[in-house]
């Protein structure tokens, strides 16, 4: 019984981590007023670059940084289109969602002899598990806390981003730019600069989210590795009311629902629900919560509206 709960909690953490990174990135971007629908594409390129650099260098941390940087390059396109050229942010984001997987598959074929799957990274060259072997295998605490370092990193980043957004000058400026760019501009804040910083940060985080999938959940890249996580993260931003801690909770809730479904699907639990119906629960939950519990008023006032300086 207790070990079941521990496994559910552990699975929740494992499942939510890539979503948390990505959702945190989305929060930053949207706080500054730029919708980032391209998170999925940025995650994909992050997953590919993470797996590839990790495979060739053998160092997961370099791989993680490279993944973030690669996704940041993609975010730069989104930033230029939506900030400088005042393009529709949803459209440029969608373009990123096509571009990300396209570039990943194209490059994958170059690096891995024409296959769209990267080669697997050995266990000791993946992101380390700081508490591996600390508790007895499959004991209560082992099941919960024997996680990859990325899991802990996600929570540390949440705290940092919360601090930056609410307690520093840069964060408050980001919010000002997202709420009322004209007012911010009249006070001498460079709306363009702040938005560029925010969008690039969001790309970096989405890239890390994708890489955490490739470097800790599994150990290789496949085109299907990122399939929908970016969009779930997008929902988590809204459900989390555009707050880093809220978005993190939303991701944990989704991960928790998945973990619970996996627990229920175990034939030994003896719940006789068809696996197809069970698999829907996390998604239905997301829709219900989005419908019922989130007011529209929480979005940054200027999100999705391009700012043009006159």
């Amino acid at each position: 019984m207790f070990s079941d709960i521990a496994l559910i909690l552990g699975t929740t953490l494992m499942y939510s981590t890539p979503l948390i990174f990505t959702a945190l990135g989305g929060v930053i971007s949207e706080k500054s007023g730029v919708v980032n629908i391209g998170l999925e594409g940025m995650m994909t390129i992050g997953a590919f670059i993470g797996a590839t650099v990790g495979y060739f260098t053998g160092n997961p941390w370099i791989a993680l940084l490279a993944a973030g940087s690669a996704a940041m390059v993609l975010a730069l396109f989104h930033a230029i289109a939506s900030i400088h050229f005042a393009a529709d942010q949803v459209i440029s984001g969608m373009a990123i969602n096509f571009l990300g997987p396209g570039i990943s598959i194209f490059l994958c074929r170059i690096f891995f002899d024409g296959t769209t799957m990267s080669l697997s990274i050995p266990l000791d060259q993946k992101i380390p598990r700081p508490l591996n072997g600390f508790f007895a295998q499959n004991s209560f605490f082992d099941l919960i806390f024997n996680q990859y370092a990325t899991v802990y990193l996600a929570f540390v980043l949440m705290a940092i981003i919360w601090f930056v957004l609410y307690k520093t000058r840069l964060g408050l400026r980001m919010q000002a730019v997202g709420e009322h760019p004209k007012a911010a501009d009249s006070l001498g804040i460079s709306v363009y600069k702040i938005r560029y910083i925010a969008v690039l940060c969001s790309g970096f985080l989405a890239g890390i989210g994708g890489a955490s999938m490739a470097l800790s959940v599994v150990s290789n890249f496949r085109p299907t590795l990122i399939s929908g996580q970016g969009f779930i993260a997008l929902a988590a931003i809204i459900f989390g009311k555009w707050k880093p801690q809220g978005a993190t909770l939303a991701c944990l809730l989704f991960g928790g629902a998945q973990a619970f479904v996996i627990f229920l699907g175990n034939p030994q639990v003896g719940v006789n629900i068809s696996s197809q119906l069970l698999a829907m629960i996390p998604y239905i939950l997301t829709i219900l919560i989005l419908m019922g519990f989130v007011g529209r008023t929480n979005a940054p006032a200027a999100v999705g509206v391009p700012f043009e300086k006159h």
Partner: protein
């Protein structure tokens, strides 16, 4: 200037003439094209295997081959059309996802020959071949290996989506395991996804916690997560469709293989000899090498078990042993063997 232009256009015309006559002479060659499903040509699975079969046909039978990749389900019809315009003698559809589209195309173009992997129709048109694989046979063998090699007496099965095509893998595997060790406990769970690797990993972790030490995944890239969990916990995993040992050389002890390349090559060979078995469903099995267990099996599985597996293979080929493919047959199998 005019002269140069004239000369240039003259060269062009002769060149075009030369090229066109060449393509006329080449048109006598047999041409085969294939349409991949959304997995793409290098999916490390059946699409890639199919293309390897065609490439073999190219080098050994001098057949002209080509492929069209589908990026989404909506591409199938137009890709089939493209290959037809390319005057292919035979057009392959790879994967059951294309079953409706290729049937419609076959009915619309009665003179064009078609064939499809993983589909058997109730009524096949005369210009279409369905190709099926007896997946339960290699799954029975890997199940037998799992039953013999499990130290804990508990093994797991992770399925992709609960459809008959995947359940065949489950029941073949379960029957093999029970046949090896009647007391074996088998935990099965479906991910209801072919892509969610994290879910596969979580399901595998849960099975390992319940004491399983070998898990067989027939679940596309969900299986990546299963293999990863086995690698982390130093347990064993069994691969599917192709030899997946390269994913985790110390973890994947064997794989249940479906030799799509074999089927594609055989049909091409027939076609070259002027034979086309349109209107029928061809079933590949252990007998003709269309399904098998991975060559890498000998790396991890002890020789005495391998020998037993070889004997079982012979029994299956001779028809003495019939691995079940459905739940009903599975229950009957257990009863008849008193397991």
């Amino acid at each position: 200037m005019l002269k140069i232009l004239l000369l240039f256009s003259f060269t062009l015309t002769t060149l075009t003439f030369f090229l066109s006559t060449q393509s006329i002479t080449e048109a006598k060659d047999i041409k085969i094209g294939m349409v991949t499903d959304v997995g793409g040509i290098n999916d490390q699975s059946f699409n890639q295997s199919a293309w390897e079969g065609l490439k073999r046909a190219k080098s050994e039978l001098a057949i002209k081959v080509s492929y069209q990749e589908s990026k989404q389900d909506a591409d199938y019809a137009s890709n089939l059309e493209t290959l037809m315009d390319g005057k292919n003698d035979l057009i392959w559809g790879i994967g059951f996802k294309m079953s409706d589209k290729i049937l419609a195309a076959a009915k619309q173009n009665p003179k064009q020959k078609y064939a499809i992997i993983d589909v058997g129709y109730e009524k096949t048109p005369a210009n279409l071949i369905g190709v099926l694989f007896k997946s339960e046979e290699p799954c029975f063998l890997v199940g037998y290996i799992a039953g013999k090699m499990s130290k804990s007496g508990t093994i797991g099965f992770v399925g992709g989506i609960k459809v008959p095509l995947i359940q065949v893998f489950q029941y073949g595997y379960m029957a093999g395991a029970k046949f090896a060790n009647p007391k074996i406990k088998i935990i099965d769970q479906y991910a209801e996804s072919f892509t969610d690797a994290a879910k596969g990993k979580a399901i595998a972790n849960q099975m390992f916690k319940q004491g399983a030490d070998i898990i067989f995944a027939a679940a596309g890239s969900v299986g990546d997560g299963v293999i990863e969990a086995a690698k982390e916990q130093k347990k064993m995993a069994i691969g599917v469709d192709r030899d997946q040992n390269s994913l985790a050389p110390d973890t994947v002890i064997t794989s249940a293989m479906k030799r799509v390349d074999h089927a594609i090559f055989n049909v091409a060979k027939d076609l070259k000899a002027g034979v086309y078995k349109g209107g029928t469903t061809i079933t590949y099995s252990l007998k003709d090498g269309g399904v098998d267990i991975a060559p890498s099996t000998s790396k991890h599985v002890p020789a005495n078990i391998l020998k037993e597996v070889d004997n079982l293979k012979l029994d299956i080929i001779k028809g003495k042993l019939v691995p079940p493919a459905t739940e009903n047959d599975y229950n009957k199998f257990l009863k008849s063997h008193k397991l």
